[in-house]
Structures are given as structure tokens and as C-alpha cells.
Symmetry: D2
Subunit: 363 residues, 4 copies
């Protein structure tokens, strides 16, 4: 299988880059939740290509059509299924892809797994386009979370060697998150964005691409959701975030830097806040201890590899003849998907947060 995620809030994503339609079925939503359609479309737009020089020129309508699960703008409690028609496929020859797998893509692994029957057009079910239904589902989840005081937002923390200011994980505010989660290219420091655009432009000029890091925050989760061992918050978030194409790593709180810390540096000492709540003076735990939320901002970072589709000629193999070959990829491709990926990371975070609430009987 491939496209199913979640236990209490289950999403099933379907479709491929060039199939008639793609979409998502969301099962387990509580009834009576109002869904603001414009806010759903706003999130779809953040993910959509074609709006910014960092992205591909390909334009997608990305108008989701709800088949069921909403009545008069309210959830009915029944599965909510939305479909996006694929209207802008260039039908030109994809036969080459079946023969010459693109380095860094799933062309070769899918060819072996599906014995040559996989849909190679545009990457098929492995296409980044599949994040569109994910963002749709996340946009629905986000509205349920907001109603319960939970905010999710992210920023592009790095592109190439250029870094944005990191989150202040102790004082992260829903105000900041709610500002970032409206932006197409969310950053804290606008100068960093300029430099990042420069990185992307350099990559594009070189017929190349560049990777980056998205940092995501969740504010407002109650203390005590999540579980020890395999049903922890980290496990759950990782299990959905690695569903976004191109993700190669995830870290929570201080993440990989904990390797260089002493216990006395890494431990988040606690105190009683003015409002009576328990808080940490630092947040190296990223809001999670023992797999369970501790009430501090939940913070994680996700690494995105550079788009593998580049115009530069590359070495590959010919799967018909099983000989070495050269490949030049043509067509429109993002030199950098990281800004658009922020919307997908947030969507995954929204769905994980909703699942955590549902598992704790808080929906």
C-alpha cells in the first residue's frame, strides 16, 4: 500500500501527476465543523506552482471538488472526499522515462517494484503533485485545530547555504505562526528570503536545483497527548512527514545538535509560570518528552533534497538494454520546491495534531 495514513483521522490519497484526477478521502472528522472554503483554497494556493520565480511555470487550477462529507459548509461526520482534476497535463511523450530512469527519482525503484506497469507520466503516484490533496486535508484539519486554540506554521529555514533566523522555540507565538502560514515563501527574516531567492536563481541559471530545510511549529497542544514508545508524537509526525516527497530527515527540538550537548545543557529546566503552568526555561525537547507533549511549543525541522529533475545531462541506465546511458531532462521543473513544501509540512503537522487530539478523546 502507499497512500493511507492515520488511525482515528484517516486520509487516503490517490492519483498521479497525469491521471484524470487526484484527491483525498478523509475519514473520521467529527460532525458539525464549519469549513471556510476560502481558507482551504488559500492553503491550496500556497502549495500550487507557477506563482513565483522560484517555482515551475506550470500552472495548475487545483480547484478541489468536494464529493461528499460536507453539507451546507459543515462536516457531516461521514468521509469527506475531494477530487482535483488534472487539467494541465502536457500529453507529450513520456516513453523515455520508462526506459531511462531519472537519477534521484523513483523511476527505477518503481519500475522494479511494479514490474514496469507503473504510471511513469510525470512521476505518477510519486509526483510532488500528490502534496495537493495532502494540503487540502491539512487545510481542513487546520480549521478544526484553530477552533481548539491550536496554531500551526512554518518557515523556510534554509535554502542551499542561506539560513533564516530559527524559531525562538521557547517564546514561539501563534501570532507568528498565523502570519507565516499565510505566506507563499514564509521566512522570519526578509533579508534571508532575498538571499535564498538568489540561491534559487543561481541554481536555475545553472540548470540545476537546490535543497533546503523547513522548520515547523505547533502551538496550543494540551499537555499529555501522545504515548510512550511507538505511538509517540515524534513517531506519528515522522510517519506522515516522510510521506512528503523529497524529505530525507526530521529532527525535533534541538535535534541532531543534541549529540554535542551535555545533559546539563540539553535538559530543559522547569519553573512555574505566572499563570500557574509548568514551563521550561529552554525547549531543546521541542515540546515532547517520552513521546508526550509537555505544553511547550512543538518544533521540528525537515530536510528537503534538491529537485532531482534537472536539465543537466546525467548518467543513467537503459532499462531495455541494461546498458549505460545519458539522460537530459526537458520540461518545466522547480529549481527549488522548499517554499511550496512549507505548506505540505504544515498540512502534515495539522493532520498529526488532529490525530493526536482524536487519540486522546479530545475531538
Amino acid at each position: 500500500m502507499s497512500s493511507s495514513w492515520g488511525e482515528r483521522i484517516r486520509i487516503s490519497i490517490f492519483g498521479g501527476s497525469h491521471t484524470q484526477g487526484i484527491g483525498v478521502n478523509i475519514d473520521g472528522l467529527p460532525a458539525g465543523e464549519e469549513i471556510d472554503w476560502q481558507r482551504v483554497l488559500d492553503q491550496m494556493t500556497r502549495r500550487a506552482p507557477g506563482q513565483d520565480p522560484t517555482a515551475t511555470a506550470r500552472r495548475e487550477a487545483d480547484q478541489p471538488k468536494v464529493l461528499c462529507g460536507l453539507l451546507d459548509g459543515m462536516t457531516t461526520g461521514a468521509p469527506l472526499c475531494a477530487v482535483i482534476e488534472n487539467t494541465n497535463q502536457r500529453s507529450k511523450d513520456y516513453g523515455q522515462l520508462r526506459v531511462l530512469p531519472r537519477p534521484g527519482h523513483a523511476d527505477y525503484t518503481a519500475h522494479v517494484k511494479y514490474r514496469g506497469y507503473n504510471d511513469v507520466r510525470g512521476g505518477g503516484h510519486f509526483s510532488g503533485r500528490l502534496t495537493a490533496p495532502l494540503v487540502f486535508a491539512g487545510a481542513v484539519a487546520r480549521q478544526l485545530l484553530a477552533r481548539r486554540g491550536i496554531a500551526v506554521g512554518s518557515h523556510v529555514m534554509a535554502i542551499g547555504g542561506v539560513k533564516d533566523e530559527p524559531f525562538d522555540s521557547v517564546n514561539l507565538s501563534s501570532k507568528l505562526l498565523n502570519r507565516l502560514n499565510q505566506l507563499y515563501f514564509p521566512v522570519i527574516n526578509l533579508q534571508a528570503q532575498e538571499a535564498m531567492r538568489g540561491e534559487v536563481e543561481r541554481a536555475r541559471m545553472a540548470q540545476d536545483s537546490v535543497g533546503g530545510i523547513v522548520e515547523c511549529g505547533i502551538i496550543g497542544l494540551p499537555v499529555g497527548v501522545g504515548n510512550p514508545m511507538f505511538d509517540g508524537v515524534e513517531n506519528l509526525i515522522a510517519s506522515i512527514v516522510f510521506g512528503i516527497p523529497a524529505v530525507k530527515g526530521i529532527e525535533f527540538g534541538a535535534g541532531f545538535s543534541v549529540a554535542e550537548l551535555l545533559g546539563s545543557e540539553n535538559n530543559d529546566e522547569m519553573y512555574i509560570c505566572e499563570d500557574g503552568r509548568v514551563r521550561g526555561v529552554s525547549n531543546n525537547a521541542g515540546g515532547i518528552l517520552g513521546g508526550i507533549t509537555n505544553g511547550m511549543p512543538l518544533v521540528f525541522r525537515t530536510a528537503f533534497k534538491p529537485t532531482p529533475s534537472i536539465a543537466k545531462e546525467q548518467d543513467t541506465v537503459d532499462l531495455r538494454t541494461m546498458t549505460n546511458a545519458r539522460l537530459s531532462i526537458t520540461g518545466r521543473h522547480d529549481p527549488c520546491i522548499v517554499p511550496r513544501a512549507a505548506a505540505a509540512v504544515e498540512a502534515a503537522a495539522c493532520l498529526a495534531a488532529l490525530e493526536l487530539l482524536a487519540q486522546s478523546g479530545m475531538l
Copy 2:
């Protein structure tokens, strides 16, 4: 829930640091697999504390007793349950833990989640001791994998600021992995080990602790196991690895460093090997493309935070009075769990690899 993992090969882990016993039930093992008991015990020993100055002086017998599932040393196809009795608990007062949660531990989050009814003795179900049944299950899985040509091994890649030589992820050999997976403190470069021991010793002297990184490799997985999106190899491995206490991050292949790479640098160009197989000239993908194995060595790294139990006095809160408080943790504690954690990471990797085979109908 907390302790259940896997779909076709399901493990259920139970117990706490000071309960009468801890153990694991493994459901889904194929029948007729011979289990070499000594090799199981060897893995248990790698994880067990008390054998090395880097670890706690506490000695645990860690003798697993198999209740069922093995007959004449062969798996029967029925659930295999093993129990380890907890024999070496110091029964002294743990009442303080219920009142003064330790920074960096799950004491506070568990207190809220379980409304004060959780077993706080030694960390209860959140104890690192729970990796003993995980290592047991992994040691069983490892033998099934070996029979199918799959080797799993790891090394301590970093402790504090000291780094071991990284894996050569293109030429990683089962010979190296099978050497490392016999060692208590596995490293590639023995000089690095010496320096790491120095780091640990410095932390111990300072009544402190230190974190690190484990790098793990899997050789021999067939091309084509794993799935796109949420059932990918990365999702699966992350879902079990984050079940090991103290893990704060995971990355595959080039991992977080992909953020600084160009597509032309990150893409693994392919060629036809002398033996006719498709291989990459590099392995930034870590053996996984689109969630599916590509036949190259599978490589991932896991970040471990420093042991939170340190003797240094720390700020915490008093959960009875809800006022600020100071805490000094006494007792025996590892200044660094990373060498022992290697056995747990490998166990998780073995179980994930076995699950992948089972899902692909290859068991």
C-alpha cells in the same frame, strides 16, 4: 497505546524499570526458523549496562525466558513471547520522583497524562530498560534476515564533538556490518573510540552526561521493497526508531546535508555494474528512492540526546505545591548511552527490514 509496532511482524513490548518483569510478544514470525540462542544473548549483552566504564554500574541479568513460540529451537509460527525478570531493583524511595519531575525526562508529561497513576519507579514504562525486549526481538529478526542474505550493523558516529569515520555508503559491506554488530562499542576508527571515551569520562567527572549519533546500515535488501507516500521505508524505520528513548532526529542518506546540495550533486547517477545490476556512483539517497529500496546500502543516522539523569542540581517544579524547586538526582546513571543504544538502533532496523520483507511477501 504505546508499545505495539508493526503490521505483519508485530511486536508488543511491556514492562517498566521496576515491574516484576518486562518482555515482548512477537507475532507473525514464519514457522521453521532456527533461533541460535547464544546469538540472541550476545545481542542482549551488547545492550546490557555495567560492562564498560561509559555505562552505569548497575548490572542486570537480562536473561530472557521464552514462554512460547519456540519448540526445539525452531519458531512454531505462533506468537513468541519472552520475559525478562527484573531482579536488581533497588527498592528505595522513589516518592521524590512523583513530586519533583526530572528535567529532560518524561516524569512531568507522564504525570499529567496518567493523572499521577503512572509507575515512576526508574522511569516506569519510559525507561531505557525497555530497549532490552526490543533488542531481544531484533536479535530474533536478525537471524531470519541473515538467512536471507541481509546484514544490519551500526557504529557510534559521534559522541559530543568527537566523530567516527562515516560509513562509505557506496561500498558498505556486510563484512564490516557483521564485525560491528558484535561489538559493545562499535566504531570504524579505534582512535575515535578513545577520544569518545575521553568525552564520556569528562562528562562523568563533571557529574554530567553527553549525547551522540548512531549510524546504521542495512545490506542485502532486495530492490523494490517499501512503498510510496506513508508506507515508505523512511516512514517505517522512523516509526520504530523514535520508539527508542532519547532519539531526537533521524536522517537517511545525505540527510540534512541535502539542504546545501545542488541537484547535480545530490542525484546519484546510475550505471550497470559488472554483475549486471544497477548501481549508483554515489548514495545520497541512502538506498531509498520514493520510499522504495534501490539496492544500494540503506544508511540512516539517529541523534541521541545526553542522558537526562545527571547528578548536577537542577531547577524543577514541585507538583504537589506547584512551586519552583531544586532537584539533585542520585543513583547510578549512564553518562552516555550511545554505545549501548547502537544495539537498540540495529534491533529496530532488523525489525523494520523483516516487516518490509513480510509486506512484500518475501518471508
Copy 3:
């Protein structure tokens, strides 16, 4: 949740009687399976209303549209999603249903569960119409099974007091099953069908409805699929068959009649068949021992309650005023759904059989 079933072959069904569309996403199908579209439509037609005097006059196009998962008539290995548009809804007032729940329907239970936000139009997600996507998914599964020598068929075993001849569960043939699974009103004894039609007609004339029993058989499953305890064949089949609206019971082999049998009568004695296979002289086990197939025909029966929508005036309650009330249901309703239900039972059986093969690594 509600609409998700299966582990290796997962279906997610969505939609309601009067939503814009209904459909199913099938995840986990192997790649490279040819799907004969006409045979899919044939099964859809068997379930569709309006073709027989026993059924409602309401006509549905029931033309499934495949959004993805098929390419040139072959499965791609990616999720296969099909949507059926609801074209023939009479949009008249369903407001009464929100106030006066129909006896025997889910109107009241859904009202409480979804706090009044459920879609009551035509029964919403509880409508028998939801068996259309189930039959679609089953029709796809059936073709994979046929390719592997497995046949599934059923007959209307009883309507009201009239009974068809039961299956000869020892000598059940795929030839018989493949004849039955083409029929709209499948019976073994055509005279029984005539009498059943009489029962249905009498119920219709009396503005009433009538229940029945479907007996289903599966031929060709290998020996040894299924598992002990909770993953047995009976558990699996029951878990999907009870997903068909109006099912109130299921029994395997001799079923409830075992209560009156002695062990010596019920035990199926075994012998070596001419072709060397082990067979039973009887098949009270219905092809399943210890949750595992034994190579004999798999036989089960399912009880369907009479359609609850009847024109006769009935007592109900007014959910606004919480007082007693009277209800007369108007509109077109089947006096008997059992003939059409046969297609749904077979679809469930096909999906269960495919899941069993997948779990056993036989797909």
C-alpha cells in the same frame, strides 16, 4: 471512522445517497493486472436497482469513472480510485427525516452520534447505495482472483419463508459459482425463485418488505491461508460482510445448526482424494479450521433484514419536541433487497479472499 477496510488490500468508501458523488479508493492492488471493464460493469448492474419488479423503480446510471490507478486497462500498483456521480437524486424535502427517525434505520443513532449534522438525505452514508462502490471494488478483486483459479458466487437462499436448495458444500463447483455470479436474482432452483418473487410481491402489495438469506461460496483458495484467533478467515469475512447495510448475522459451514450436532456428526472426516489432496467427506467446517482454510469450499450465509423503509404508518418520535409521533414513509423503496444484496456479499467475499492471499504473500 467508518469506511475503511483491509490491511494489505485497503478499500476506503465514501459518499452518501444524495452527495455529489460516491466512490471507493482501492490501495494495495498489485501492478500489471488487466481489468476487463465490461465485467466490472456487469457486476455493477447486478447490484443496481430498477431492473426487476422486486426492486425499486429508481434508476441509477452507476457509471463508475476511474480517476487513477489504471493505465491502458492495467493496474499500475498505485491506488485505484473510482467515482460514481449521483445523478438521479430527487431533491425534494428530506427535512422530515431529521425530525422523525424511521424505525429500523440509522436515522436516530446517526442523529445522536453526529449531533444532528449528519446528512439525512436518503440515509446519507448509511444508504444501501454505498454498496455500489463496494461492488465495484469487489468486481476488480474478482478478476485478480479468477486469474489465480479462485471463483466466488452466491445465491438467494431464502426470502421470507421460501428457501432455495442449499449449496452442496462438499462438491460445490466453480462452474456453478460462475453461473450464479452472472445473474441478477441468483438461485439454484428456479422454482424457488418463482415462489420468492411471490413473497416479494405479497410484501409490496401490503406496503411492506421482506428479508432473506444469501449463501456465498468461494472455491480455489489454497490450503493454509488465514490465521488463528483474531486474524482468522471467519473474523476477516465477518468484518467486511457486516459492512453491508441490513446484515444481522453470519454463519460458516454448518453454522448455527452445529448447536444441535454431536461431535461425531459435525467433525468432517478426512481422506486422500484421487488427485492426492486431503479432502473431507463432509464440510460442516465450511472450509475453515482454526481460522485457516482447509482446501474445501468456503461457504457462509448472511441474514438480511427486511428493508426498513415501508409505506405502512409507524410509531416513531419527534426529535424536536421529544414526543411520540407517527410516520408514513413515501418514495420508492425496494420491497426486498436480497437479490441485489447477493452482488454485495460476493464483492465482500472477493475482497476478503484477495486480502487473505495478500497477507499470505500469494499476490
Copy 4:
């Protein structure tokens, strides 16, 4: 797999008739629930053999030992694992079972599935003895239910041709259920019990065995738990009840008799009760409409086949030589397991009810 059940309350059962121990791990119990140990043992005793002439003379201590999950008699929220040592195994030769599979048993199917490596001693993992840990888990669940006003009880409704009075499913009281669930041989009409004992005695005298039916009731479930389609109450209960060895059928409410009812007879008309609640004048639905509870007593019946182990000589096959053979089963065997099975059915019902509450966020 085999022994795992449940999503929010997950049980994992392990062991075989003659393994060192059998047991169950229960994951997902809320913390802070007091467990009355004597009441647990009382339920274990109901299931235990050797107390009544209807059962085998074999005596089992069946003393569960809790390894973890309870502290000072309260649940901790961590997995609760209990082990029962197998102390009374007669170690005599079971080699015959590996060669001559017993009709009506899983010997043959397990032999094929596990390629001869299964534990045949006493039926291995297929033994009715596995209901001991099920009853243990159910006894724990029952106490949580009682605290929430939910009662579960059952009676032996039929043995052979002798029938007990059925439940009055409209007026079923927790008082009756709580009386029945204390009895070893629960019936409503004591004269029926006498006649049933006669049936069992006749079977025993004839070296035979006899089957029966258990009827189970659940009182006090809130309206609105359960879900449409595949996550309905019937699906859930069936998925665990078919995990009890020897079950061949299950029906809810009017069950198979609905086939002969008209809609006007089967529909449960509704009215407003004096206490303001909605009730049915009948309860053919068995408390479930559309997979969701309606507040009426939940009633279901389960058919048990006669114990397949009978002393009478039977035809079987020799799996070594693949020739026909004769088999005489010696040893102690129940002529009728139905009275003891009542405890197992209730245990399954208790676990299903607890899972339903957990899924609805009501634990």
C-alpha cells in the same frame, strides 16, 4: 499474525496448550483504574475446566501473574501483561498428532500453514486454553465498564436440542446479567440446565460431544457508539468473537430469523420513555442500527460447534504417507465446552465494549 486485537484497547495473546506459559498483554488501558483481583480470579474460575461433570477432569491452576501495568492494585496506564504458567501438562507423546490430524481440529490446516513446525501438543496456539488470557483481559475490562454503568452477561441458550428461555431483549436488566455472569453454568431457566446436563451426559456416555449456543447481553452502552460500514458494532464484536475457538456463527438481535420477517414486524417502533429517553417497543435490531448503538440492550448469539476431540474412532489421513488412516483420540476432553465458553464470550463482549468507549473518547 494471529493474536492481536483492538485499536485503542489492544490485546496480544500468546502461548499454547503445552508451552511454558500463556498470557496476554493489554495496551491502552486508562490509568488510575482499580482492579479487584478476586473478581478477576472469579472470572478465570468460570472458564477453568475441572469443576463440573460437563467438563474435562483436567485441573488447571490458572493463576495469572501480573508482570507489569498494575501498581498497588491500580492501572498505571502502561501495558498490563499477565502470564499463566502451564503446570499440568501431561508430557506424553503427541507425535501421533503430527501424523494423524484430528477431524474438526486445526491440526491439518496448521500443518500445511506452518509446514510442520507448529506446536501440536494439545492443539498448540489453537487450543481452547487460549481463552484463559482472553477471560483475564475481559475481567479487567469488565471492571472498567462496571464503573461506567455497563453490565455484560450471558447464558447458555442451547445445548444440543435443549433450549434455555431467550433473553427478553427489550427489558433485559443489568441485575439479571450480573447474576448470570457469576455462574459457572449460566441459564435463565434452571430446568433447562438440568436437561442440558442430560444432553452432555448422553454425549459423554457415547464417547461423543455436543455443541450449543451462547446468548450475550450488554446493558448501559451510551447511544451513538460505533460507526457505519466497516467499523460498526457488529463488525467489531464479530472480529473478536470469532477469535474464540469453535465459534461458527454470530447473529445480532433477531439475527437469522429476520429472513422470515416482514419489515413491519422487524422494525422496532420507537417512543419516548417516561424518563425522556427514546426506546423501542421491540428490539429486533439487538441495540444496533447502522453499526451504532441505539440505547436498547445489545444482544447477540454465538454458535459453538461440539468439541472435535472425541473418543470415537474416526477417519483421517496419515500426513507422512499421505494415505487414509483411522484415529482414536485418547485423553481428557470436554464433552461440551459451551458452559465454559460463556465466560469467553462475555470477555470478548467486555473488550469490544471498552474499545467502543475508547474509540468514542469516552474512557
